[in-house]
C-alpha cells in the first residue's frame, strides 16, 4: 500500500504534468518536423535538383541559401554583403533552400535541394569564407542562429538549473523537511526502495503516454511510414548513419528514449539511494538527482552526435526531470537532519552548484562563435 502512496505523491503535483506535457510537445515537434521534412524532400527534391545545381555551379551568381534542416531562416547568402557565420559548414547530404536574388526579392518560392556533390559544398563554403554572397537579416540571425546556438551551448547548465528548480517546485520532502517525521515511523526507513520503484513506475507510465501520443500524431499528420519503418532522423535515410551511429525508426527512437531514461533512473537512483543509505551523504543525493536528469545530455553527446542533437536531448529532458527528483526524494527515508550542520552543508552545496553552473555557462558562452 505504501508504494501506492509514494506513486501518488510522485504524480500528484501539477508541475509533474506540466513536465509531461512539455515532453510530449517537444517529442512531437521533433517527430513532426522530421516527418514534414521527409515529405517535402521526397516531393520536391527531384524537381529542383537540376536548377539548384546550375545556380550553385555558376561563378558569381547571386545566391540565397538557407538550411532546410534547421527549419528557420538562418544565413541568407547574397552578393555584395558580408557577415559570415563561420560556424556554418556546408556538407554533402545537407538540404538547402536556394534563391536567385531576383527571385528572393520578388517573393518567389525557393528551390530545395540536397548538396549531393563535393564541388557544391566547396563552392558554398568558399563563398562563406570569403565573406561574399552573404547577407544575414538581423532579426532572423538573432532568432534563427544566436538564441538556438546559445541554448545549445549551455544546454547542460540549463539541465542542472532545471533540476534544482524542479526539486523546489516538484519536490515534497527535501524542501518541506518531513524527514524527521517519516524516519521515526515504523516503516519510514525502508521507504527508499519503494520510492525508487515508484519512480520507475511513474517514468514508465509517462513514457507509455509519450509513445502513444507520438505514435498517434505520427500516423495522422505525417503519413510517411509506420512507427517501425519511418526514420527518426532524416539524414540517416539519405546519407547513412550521420546523425546517429545507427539507423533508427521513430518507434525505435521512442523505445530507446524510454529504456534509456528508465535505465538511468535505476542506475542513478539505486546509486544515490545506496550511498545515501550508507553515508547519509547530501552530495550523494545531489549526485543522484543531477545524474539522472543530466546524464541524457552528457551521454547523448557520445551516442547522438549531430546537428540536431540538442532537440533530441531536450525531448527526453522533461521526463528525466520528473524522475530526477529521486536523489533528493531519498532524503526522506534517511535522517538528514542527523548530520551536524546539515542546513549549512545544504546551503553551501546548493550555492556552490549554482555558482559553478553560472561560471561554466559564462565561460562556455564566451567560446561560442556567433
Amino acid at each position: 500500500m505504501l508504494i501506492l502512496y509514494e506513486l501518488k505523491k510522485q504524480l500528484e503535483k501539477p508541475f509533474v504534468w506540466v513536465c509531461l506535457a512539455a515532453s510530449v510537445l517537444i517529442n512531437l515537434w521533433v517527430l513532426v518536423s522530421e516527418g514534414y521534412s521527409c515529405m517535402k524532400i521526397s516531393q520536391q527534391n527531384q524537381a529542383v535538383s537540376a536548377i539548384g545545381t546550375t545556380l550553385i555551379s555558376e561563378e558569381n551568381t547571386p545566391l540565397l541559401v538557407q538550411y532546410l534542416d534547421e527549419e528557420y531562416l538562418t544565413s541568407v547568402m547574397r552578393s555584395g554583403t558580408g557577415n559570415p557565420a563561420e560556424w556554418l559548414e556546408f556538407d554533402i547530404g545537407q538540404n538547402v533552400l536556394l534563391y536567385s536574388s531576383n527571385a528572393y526579392e520578388s517573393g518567389a518560392k525557393p528551390l530545395i535541394m540536397e548538396i549531393s556533390e563535393p564541388v557544391f559544398a566547396e563552392r558554398l563554403n568558399e563563398l562563406q569564407r570569403n565573406g561574399e554572397n552573404l547577407h544575414i537579416n538581423g532579426g532572423e540571425w538573432l532568432l534563427g542562429i544566436v538564441i538556438p546556438k546559445l541554448l545549445m551551448s549551455i544546454s547542460f547548465e540549463c539541465a542542472v538549473f532545471a533540476v534544482l528548480i524542479s526539486v523546489k517546485i516538484g519536490g515534497h520532502e527535501f524542501t518541506e523537511k518531513t524527514a524527521n517525521v517519516v524516519y521515526s515511523t515504523k516503516k519510514g526507513r525502508s521507504l527508499g526502495a519503494r520510492k525508487l520503484a515508484a519512480s520507475l513506475i511513474a517514468a514508465t507510465l509517462f513514457h507509455i503516454v509519450l509513445t502513444a501520443v507520438s505514435a498517434l500524431l505520427l500516423f495522422i499528420i505525417c503519413p510517411c511510414g509506420n512507427l517501425l519503418s519511418a526514420p527518426a532522423f532524416l539524414e540517416n535515410m539519405k546519407t547513412g548513419n550521420i546523425v546517429t551511429w545507427f539507423s533508427m525508426s521513430v518507434g525505435e527512437f521512442i523505445l530507446a528514449n524510454a529504456a534509456f531514461s528508465l535505465l538511468l533512473t535505476l542506475i542513478f537512483g539505486a546509486f544515490g539511494y545506496s550511498v545515501w543509505g550508507m553515508l547519509c551523504s547530501v552530495p550523494a543525493a545531489v549526485f543522484g538527482a543531477l545524474g539522472i536528469s543530466t546524464a541524457p545530455f552528457a551521454l547523448g553527446f557520445f551516442i547522438l552526435p549531430g546537428e540536431r542533437l540538442w532537440r533530441l536531448l531536450f525531448a527526453s529532458c522533461p521526463t528525466s526531470l520528473i524522475i530526477g527528483r529521486a536523489g533528493f526524494w531519498f532524503c526522506e527515508s534517511r535522517n538528514s537532519i542527523a548530520i551536524p550542520g546539515f542546513e549549512m552543508i545544504s546551503a553551501v552545496l546548493w550555492g556552490a552548484i549554482t555558482v559553478a553552473v553560472v561560471i561554466l555557462a559564462v565561460y562556455r558562452l564566451k567560446r561560442v562563435k556567433l
Binding site: M1, K13, E176, V181, K187, G188, A338
Partner: protein, 292 residues
C-alpha cells in the same frame, strides 16, 4: 519501561549530553531547560534519530537499536519543526503517516477522524495545510504523534505556536493520555509542564541536574523566594543588589519577586517552578547553569 543508561552524545569535541541516566515509568515527564541545552538532542536520541556516542537506551530491557521497527512501532514523535506536505489536507497526510506506521487503512480512517476531532480540526480536515496557521499545523503534528496510540510519546516543544486556549486544551489532552503511557515533553515554557508533569527533568551542562516531582524541584528554593513592595523609583537600585525573578507594577508601587536570604525582613513565599528555572539558568546561554 524506558531506561537511558550512561548515554553520552558528542558532536565532534562538543559534549551535548554527558553520562545521562534516567528511568521512565508511565506518566508525564517535563524536560525543562533553556534553548540549546540538549533537550532536542535527548528527544531525538529517544526517537532513534540520533545515536549515542556511548551508553544505551533500553525499552523493557532491550536496546532500542536492536528492537528497530518494534520500538518505533510504540513511539509517537512530534519534532520541534514538524514537516508536512503543504499541498496535503490533514486527513490525507495523517492517512499517509498511518500507512508509514503500519496501521490498516480502515482502522486508520477511524483513528484519523477521532484525532482530528480531538485536536479540533474536524472542520478543516479537507482543507490544504498550506492555508493553516502555525497553531493548526502544530495540532496536526500532535494528532500525527498519537496516530499509533503510542506507549512512548515524545513531544519536542509541542506548544510552540499555540494560543492560550489551545495550550490549555493540549495540556488536558496530555494529562488524559499519561495514565497508561510515558509522555516526555520537552519545553522551555515552564507553564506547559508545571501543572501536568509527574516529574521534572532539568539539564545542566549536559548532565541531569534534577529528576524530581514539581514539589521537590520547587523545594530547592524553599525559604529563598521573597516579594518586596517598593516605590517604583527604587527598583533599579534593588535589582542591583538582589536577583529579581519578576517585576509587577501597580501605580507608583512595584512588587519584586526576588531571591534573598531573609535579612531584608520580608516573609518568604512559596517558590514556583518558574522561579527555579529562572534562578538556575540565570546566566545560561545554552544550558550552562549554577547549582542550587
Amino acid at each position: 519501561m524506558l531506561s537511558v543508561k550512561n548515554v553520552t552524545m558528542k558532536y565532534g569535541n562538543h559534549t551535548v549530553l554527558d553520562d545521562i541516566n534516567i528511568d521512565f515509568e508511565n506518566g508525564v515527564y517535563g524536560l525543562l531547560a533553556p534553548n540549546g541545552a540538549g533537550k532536542t538532542t535527548l528527544i531525538k536520541l529517544l526517537a532513534t534519530l540520533h545515536f549515542a556516542s556511548s551508553g544505551a537506551v533500553l525499552w523493557n530491557g532491550e536496546s532500542i537499536t536492536a528492537l528497530d521497527e518494534k520500538y518505533r512501532d510504540v513511539i509517537g514523535y512530534l519534532p520541534q519543526q514538524f514537516g508536512f506536505y503543504r499541498s496535503y489536507t490533514p486527513t490525507a497526510y495523517l492517512l499517509y503517516l498511518s500507512a508509514l506506521k503500519g496501521i490498516p487503512k480502515p482502522a486508520a480512517k477511524q483513528r484519523v477522524d477521532k484525532l482530528l476531532s480531538l485536536v479540533a480540526l474536524s472542520d478543516v480536515k479537507n482543507v490544504k495545510m498550506k492555508k493553516f496557521s502555525g497553531g493548526m499545523i502544530q495540532r496536526v503534528g500532535i494528532a500525527a504523534a498519537l496516530l499509533n496510540d503510542p506507549k512512548l510519546l515524545l513531544l519536542d516543544e509541542p506548544t510552540a505556536g499555540l494560543d492560550p486556549k489551545e495550550r490549555v486544551r493540549f495540556r488536558n489532552i496530555i494529562a488524559g493520555l499519561s495514565k497508561d503511557r510515558i509522555v516526555i515533553l520537552s519545553t522551555h515554557i515552564v507553564s506547559d509542564v508545571e501543572s501536568i508533569a509527574n516529574r521534572i527533568i532539568m539539564l545542566q551542562n549536559g548532565k541531569i541536574y534534577c529528576n524530581e516531582t514539581v514539589a521537590e524541584v520547587c523545594g530547592r528554593l524553599s525559604g529563598m523566594v521573597y516579594e518586596a513592595e517598593l516605590p517604583t523609583a527604587e527598583t533599579a537600585e534593588f535589582s542591583q543588589k538582589h536577583f529579581v525573578l519578576s517585576e509587577r507594577f501597580e501605580g507608583d508601587r512595584a512588587f519584586l519577586r526576588f531571591i534573598g536570604d531573609g535579612s531584608e525582613g520580608y516573609a518568604p513565599k512559596n517558590a514556583g517552578l518558574e522561579d527555579v528555572f529562572l534562578y538556575l539558568y540565570r546566566d545560561a546561554e545554552g544550558g550552562n547553569a549554577d547549582t542550587l
